[in-house]
């Protein structure tokens, strides 16, 4: 370059050589030092055309017992797409985890899934139906009954599954494509069988290509009533879902009117099927009877406080129809409400309370049924966000314990373990964390110990900057997803698994069945 030659002596021999190095080699080296690491990160983030969830990430034994063989179930700890090493003792398969096959079903339900246009508030939206409607039919069971659901995929091109959100089903019935079953193709069928052991409010949804399928309405409600019945005179379910930006209750973009006489107690089973938390509040007072599926111990009346219902979570509220013959509104966000009272009577929208109900101190303590003070496994689930590559795509991605999908932890437990998990959210967005197959009790939030009723969840709202300590009993062998139920986040790689040692799955993510659980 002319500018340089002015300041430098004429170049001959070694000088000319070093000039060449400076002029050509250095910029190229500098470029490679930027492009090279990026290329390495890109290739490292790619996943094979078919892989076992067992080969994802790295095993985390939570400071507990490490199995003699590496994982026992063949956890490879790498992403080479290899089959597990079958020199090890033959692992049990997730497909063995089923309800008693000899026991006849108490309830039989046929569900036919279709991909079709939905009409919501006069607008046409591409979505999915279950037996012709979205939400699908409510499945009603009594505690202890064996539920048998026969699924047929009539026209969903990507394939479907059904996951029983909140039900601690046997693992083979969990409905996670590529982990506990293959996605059911068009024309295919699958039968789910499980015992409804615990009364409560649940929902079902697809766990194949789950983000668009659930958003498109491939879901429905499941309610298990207690053997002893309930004390409320009216029992209703309110499934909140947002179709293409339109808030609905039970599929209708309008208020949900529940006729009730003055003084009648109404149980409202609110189910949040969206990707974000929902605020619930009433004009008068309400009582929170159950969180997810577990009854609150000695709940008290709440007024001037909203309840945050996390994505995927359920809340059973008790609201009493006003004694003066008016109605009461239960707001499910500002946009929709359940209106309880005589037909035709309306009331104005109550203002949204500034403060919210703190479940850490709601109700009174009761025995947990196990001792989380002496856990046999301690795990960390630290959620972060950083730039990088996931499946070959650049972006700002969610990390788990500092690593990006698929290099995520596989939390390994043994049946009978008492497990404690510390969850931290270091991102700017809320994460509704959902563990399959188990219910976990909140021990502390931000280091403050729980002081109210045992707060059992299957879906936990973890806002930015907050941390939770939770505990659960490892009493349901299987390979279970532990993921963010903002299903967009799950599709972006916010997925880890809990596995019991000595287990394996015959299914593959992607592969011939094109299993895409997220």
């Amino acid at each position: 370059m002319a500018g340089h030659s002015r300041r430098q002596p004429p170049r001959v021999g070694a000088n000319a050589h070093s000039g060449w190095v400076l002029r050509v080699a250095l910029p190229v080296v500098a470029t490679l030092s930027i492009v090279g690491p990026l290329a390495w990160l890109w290739q490292d983030s790619r996943v094979p055309a078919a892989y076992s969830v067992m080969d994802m990430g790295y095993p985390d034994y939570g400071m507990g017992t490490v199995p003699d063989t590496s994982g026992g179930g063949g956890h490879g700890g790498h992403m080479q797409g290899q089959m597990p090493d079958h020199d090890m003792p033959t692992p049990r398969l997730v497909t063995d985890m089923i309800a008693d096959p000899a026991r006849p079903a108490d309830i039989r339900v046929d569900l036919v899934i279709r991909q079709q246009m939905l009409t919501v508030a006069g607008r046409s939206i591409a979505g999915f139906t279950v037996n012709g409607t979205s939400p699908g039919p409510q499945i009603l069971a009594r505690q202890g009954q064996l539920v048998e659901v026969h699924l047929r995929n009539e026209s969903v091109a990507d394939g479907v599954t059904l996951h029983w959100h909140g039900v601690d089903v046997p693992n083979a019935m969990d409905g996670v494509a590529g982990v506990t079953q293959d996605a059911v193709p068009v024309g295919g069928e699958f039968t789910y069988r499980f015992v409804a052991k615990q009364a409560g409010t649940y929902w079902y949804h697809s766990h194949q290509v789950s983000n668009p399928q659930v958003a498109g309405g491939l879901l429905g409600s499941l309610v298990v009533t207690p053997k002893s019945g309930i004390v409320q005179q009216v029992d209703v379910t309110a499934v909140a879902h947002t179709y293409g930006g339109m808030r609905t209750i039970n599929g209708k973009a309008e208020d949900f009117r529940v006729p009730a006489r003055a003084g009648q107690r109404v149980r409202i089973r609110v189910t949040n099927t969206d990707n974000g938390p929902m605020k619930i509040w009433t004009g008068g007072s309400y009582r929170l009877l159950a969180v997810d599926v577990t009854d609150v111990h000695q709940p008290t009346d709440v007024s001037d406080r909203s309840l945050t219902l996390t994505a995927g979570g359920r809340a059973d509220l008790e609201v009493t129809a006003p004694s003066d013959g008016t109605a009461v509104r239960v707001q499910l966000s500002k946009a929709t409400a359940v209106i309880i009272g005589p037909p035709g009577v309306d009331v104005p929208v109550p203002p949204q309370p500034a403060s919210e109900l703190d479940l850490l101190a709601y109700g009174t303590p009761a025995p947990l049924g196990f001792d989380p003070a002496h856990p046999t496994r301690r795990f960390e689930y630290r959620i972060g966000r950083r730039p990088g590559f996931v499946k070959g795509r650049p972006g700002l991605w969610w990390s788990i314990n500092g690593r990006l999908f698929p290099h995520v932890p596989m939390y390994v437990v043994r049946e009978g373990d008492v497990v404690v998990m510390h969850i931290e959210n270091h991102t700017g967005e809320v994460h509704p964390m959902h563990l399959h197959g188990h219910h976990e009790v909140v021990l502390a939030r931000n280091g403050v110990a729980a002081s109210g009723s045992p707060w059992w969840v299957d879906s936990l709202n973890v806002p930015p900057g907050e941390s939770y300590d939770i505990a659960f009993m490892a009493n349901n062998p299987g390979i279970w997803m532990d993921h963010c139920h903002n299903l967009k986040h799950a599709a972006q790689g916010m997925i880890a698994h809990l596995m019991y040692e000595g287990l394996d799955t015959p299914y593959r993510i992607a592969g011939p069945a094109d299993n895409q659980p997220e």
């Binding site: 002319a2 002015r6 250095l26 939206i125 930006g245 938390p277 700002l396 930015p464």
Partner: protein
Amino acid sequence: MRTAYKVLAYLVAAEVAIQAMVMVWGIAGLGKWVDGGGVFDKAVIESEGAPPFPEVVGILVHGINGLFVIPGLALLLLIVSFFTKVRGAIKWAVVVLLLVVVQGQLGELGHDLPLAGALHGLNALALFGAAIYAGRRLRAVAVGVEQPEARAATPV
């Protein structure tokens, strides 16, 4: 390579201007929609399908530009700067890239800490200025090298 450098630097500046425009466009659309009775919450933000109001596209464009396009341009600017052989070109490309990184961090942090969003707005001005300066500076240097060259020819 100098032309590429200039073009990339000015593209970064143009993108910053676009970022400011689409964001305000989106927020103005949101305000109008809310004024008409629309309810905007997490469920609506995360909802699939048709946007609740058309200007939400501005917010989406802001995200795509900020996440992919501008960092990509800044990275290319740095790579190109290695080949321009102009004193200070690398330094200013690094400054632009650092400001882009800071801008991304402030934008992300703003989701949790809204005050960081205010700094995100301020840093945008710094990034715009740095990108314009990097481009103009190179033009000045490109002109400048001709002049000393001419002077150098005169006997010292």
